[in-house]
Every structure is written in structure tokens, then in C-alpha cells.
């Protein structure tokens, strides 16, 4: 068993250090980049935390949608191909819902403060099922 503190705790501490201690002590591009670095670490931490469960769900959804087997890359390429050549579109049962679920899971890792993400959540909360 590896020891503690846990990786996510260490990453959070380094991100905090960059944002709260390093960035204010620097100016201009270096200060900006220190904040970018803090954000990048936190993004990586969100992915390490959330992606495993999210990708298991995505894989199951892709198998159901496509009726075929394969890994995430293969099945996403297959979905892409069907959307590109018109075999699938937004009217195909399950497609719109799949794309929304997967996209929202991605943005929740990448940029959870993105205003378009908040707007999309509001739209979907307001929309009738």
C-alpha cells in the first residue's frame, strides 16, 4: 500500500502554492503562467478522480448505441464515422442523449466554470423530458 497523503491531496497543495504564493510574487507573463499551471494541475486531478467511472459509463453507452464491441477509441471512431456519413444523426434514438452526457462529463473535467456549461445545465434542467 502506497503511503499518504494521497496524490490528489499533494496535487491540490501544489496548485494552491502556485496560485497563492508563486503567482502573486511574480509579474506579467510569469505570474499568468503560474496561475495557468495551477489550473492545469487541478484539471488533471479532476480527470484522475472522475474519468474512470465516466469512461466505464461512456463505453457501455457506446456499445448499446452501436451494437458493437471495442475499446473507447474504436467505438468513438465508429460513432464518428456513422455521424459523418449520415447513418446516424440527432434523430437516431439515443444519439443526442449520448453526445450530451459524454460532452458534459468532459467539460466537467476540463472547464467546470465555463459559462456555456452552466448554461447547458440550466437549459437541460428547464427542458421537459
Amino acid at each position: 500500500m502506497q503511503d499518504q497523503p494521497l496524490p490528489e491531496e499533494i496535487i491540490a497543495a501544489v496548485a494552491r502554492f502556485l496560485r497563492e504564493a508563486v503567482a502573486p510574487a511574480l509579474e506579467g507573463a510569469l505570474s499568468f503562467n503560474a496561475r495557468v499551471a495551477a489550473n492545469a494541475l487541478e484539471m488533471a486531478a479532476r480527470q484522475l478522480r472522475d474519468a474512470p467511472a465516466g469512461e466505464i459509463e461512456e463505453l457501455a453507452s457506446l456499445r448499446a448505441l452501436l451494437g458493437s464491441e471495442g475499446d473507447l477509441l474504436t467505438l468513438n471512431a465508429e460513432l464518428s464515422a456513422r455521424l459523418a456519413d449520415g447513418r446516424f444523426d440527432l434523430e437516431t434514438p439515443g444519439v443526442a442523449e449520448h453526445l450530451w452526457r459524454v460532452t458534459l462529463a468532459k467539460i466537467a473535467v476540463d472547464q467546470p466554470t465555463y459559462w456555456g456549461y452552466r448554461a447547458a445545465l440550466n437549459d437541460r434542467a428547464a427542458a421537459p423530458d
Binding site: 506579467g28 507573463a29 492545469a40 477509441l73 471512431a77 460532452t103 476540463d110 459559462w115
Partner: protein
């Protein structure tokens, strides 16, 4: 806003740059030297430096814009020499731009790039969209951007034979190929490309010289409004409606969703400014096509940063921009499957 060289310990490259600028100032600019050299961007596609030219006891602030390391010009960019020529033509056409002071030559020892006047003002998109100090500017900015676009579209494309000529379908296909080359499937992109290819407008009757990246983030604004249109490196000859759609893409609204023009203005003000300044009558469907393409185009540009990060520029900023691709996937789904 930026550190002065004395505060940041200049590297060797910076010392060499300062020495070369000093020589250029004496040889070509009628000055005695330069001081206060400061790097303004850590950007990977362009280096931008600010410095002051000493001449007759006075200091004139200038900007050096050059290829990274002086030499690396992206295949997709038009090159700094054409960019400088374009700035001059745009200025003559009535577009607010910085004044080109000197185009670098090999003898200058500074690589490829040019010097231009320093224009003071706000360039940060979020502040242009929201800052209290710029609330008056926001009343007129969309109309001024429309007028600037009309002036750009009047520049004679024949004077710029090296700029790429593209039809709408070629332009969409070019980004489709860039996306495919990334070999990373994004079903939302395929959905959007299909939507666009099914609705591709025919080539325009009169192709125009378009800025190609006219958006909030590439303009400089003061309290009275538009001061300069910047970043001309993606200029090409194409459908003029492209510029009018691109500035309205979701990606440049900085959270101000009810102001589709860069988070600061309304489409009707942009279009009215364009038409009043002599631009063609705006076709709303065509503008909408380019607005949707705008989200997808920015998405392809962002996703391409992953490869750039792994090859030419392993900066954290590149990595983080690559991971903004999913913002455009959200935007596209809201546009197409909302």
C-alpha cells in the same frame, strides 16, 4: 502590467534581442538606442515585445512583433512581411490599426517580423465585455467593428496574391481534414461538420479580403470605442460574411450570452455598421452558417494544440488550450441539439 527586464533577469536571447534592436534603432530608425524591452506575450505563434526608442531625448514606445525565435512561421500564417503590408493597406482603407514603422530585413539580425507603433488600450476579452470603464465603448463597438470589416472587405485582394483563396466548402473541408489528421475521434465534431457540409453556401459572387480572426481578443478598445484591429496572420480571400459570423461565435462572448458580438454588442448593430460603411447587405443565414462554423473552427484549432504541445511547444498554456476543445463541443451541441 509586465515586469521590466531588470526585475526578471533577462536571458541570453533577450540580451541579444536588445542589442540587435539597439543597432537597428541607430541604423534605421534615427534613434540613439532602445530601453525598457519587455515581452508582452508568452505566445507560441508570435513573439510580441514592447520597448522605447530613444530619439532626441524623447522616448517613443514601439512594438516588435516577430515569429517565435525570429524564424518559425506557421504554415497556416501569412508571414510577417505580408502581415505588415496588410496593416498598411487596412490603415489606408480606414481601419484603425497600429502604424507599421519598419519591416525587418535579414541585415537587421532580428529574424522575421516588423515594428509598429504602440497603441494603448484594452485587449483582454473579458474586460472588453464587462469592465465598467468600457461601458460607453460597448454602446458603439459592434457598429464600429462592422464598419471596420466593411473597410477591410474593400481592400483589393489582387494586391495580395499570396493570400489563400478559399470557397466556403474548401474552408470547411480544410478544417475537416485538420480534424481527421488529429486521429482523435470527436463525434460532436463529425455531427457539426456534417451539418455544415449539408448547408454550405455557394462561393460568394465577389470574394473579399477577410481578416480571418476578427473577434474579441484581437481588438484594442478604449473608453471611446475601437482603437485597433490586431492579429492579421489568418487573413485570406473568401466569403466576406465569414468575418461577420466569426465575431459572433460563442467562444468570444466571455459569458455575456445576450451580447452575441464578442460579449459586447448585438448582431443588428454589427450588421447596421457594416452596411452603413458600404458593406454588402448581410445575409442572416450565411452569417449564421459562419457563426456555427466559428465554434467548430475554434474547436479544431484548440484540439490541434495537443499535437503542438507534444511536438513544437510543450508549454502548459498549450496543454490547457487543447483542453478547451470541449467548450466548443458544448457550444456546438447547444447550437445543433439544444
Amino acid at each position: 502590467m509586465s515586469a521590466s527586464p531588470s526585475e526578471t533577469r533577462p536571458g541570453d536571447a533577450e540580451v541579444r534581442l536588445a542589442a540587435a534592436l539597439d543597432g537597428l534603432a541607430r541604423a534605421r530608425l534615427g534613434g540613439e538606442g532602445v530601453i525598457d524591452l519587455t515581452r508582452l506575450t508568452a505566445g507560441a505563434s508570435q513573439e510580441i515585445w514592447r520597448f522605447s526608442l530613444r530619439e532626441k531625448g524623447a522616448l517613443t514606445p514601439l512594438i516588435l512583433r516577430r515569429a517565435p525565435g525570429g524564424e518559425r512561421v506557421a504554415d497556416t500564417a501569412i508571414g510577417p512581411e505580408v502581415e505588415a503590408q496588410l496593416l498598411k493597406a487596412a490603415s489606408a482603407a480606414g481601419v484603425p490599426t497600429p502604424r507599421v514603422v519598419h519591416v525587418l530585413t535579414p541585415e537587421d539580425g532580428l529574424g522575421r517580423g516588423y515594428l509598429m507603433s504602440f497603441v494603448d488600450g484594452e485587449t483582454l476579452g473579458g474586460r472588453i465585455a464587462r469592465s465598467e470603464a468600457l461601458s460607453d465603448a460597448r454602446q458603439v463597438l459592434a457598429g464600429q467593428c462592422g464598419a471596420a470589416m466593411a473597410a477591410i472587405h474593400r481592400i483589393d485582394p489582387e494586391a495580395f496574391p499570396t493570400l489563400k483563396r478559399v470557397t466556403p466548402r474548401e474552408f470547411v473541408t480544410q478544417y475537416l481534414e485538420a480534424y481527421r489528421a488529429s486521429a482523435w475521434p470527436r463525434p460532436v465534431f463529425d455531427l457539426a461538420f456534417r451539418w455544415l457540409l449539408d448547408r454550405c453556401p455557394p462561393p460568394p459572387q465577389t470574394p473579399a479580403l477577410v481578416h480571418g480572426d476578427f473577434r474579441n481578443g484581437n481588438i484594442m478598445v478604449g473608453p471611446e470605442g475601437l482603437r485597433a484591429v490586431l492579429d492579421w496572420e489568418l487573413a485570406h480571400v473568401a466569403d466576406p460574411m465569414e468575418d461577420l459570423g466569426w465575431i459572433c461565435a460563442n467562444s468570444w462572448r466571455f459569458g455575456v450570452e445576450d451580447k452575441p458580438v464578442g460579449g459586447f454588442g448585438l448582431r443588428q448593430d454589427l450588421w447596421a455598421g457594416y452596411e452603413a460603411a458600404g458593406g454588402a447587405k448581410v445575409d442572416p443565414d450565411r452569417a449564421r452558417f459562419w457563426e456555427v462554423f466559428g465554434s467548430l473552427r475554434w474547436g479544431v484549432m484548440c484540439s490541434g494544440m495537443a499535437n503542438a504541445f507534444r511536438t513544437v511547444d510543450p508549454s502548459i498554456e498549450r496543454a490547457v488550450i487543447a483542453r478547451r476543445t470541449s467548450e466548443t463541443e458544448v457550444d456546438l451541441l447547444r447550437l445543433l441539439a439544444g
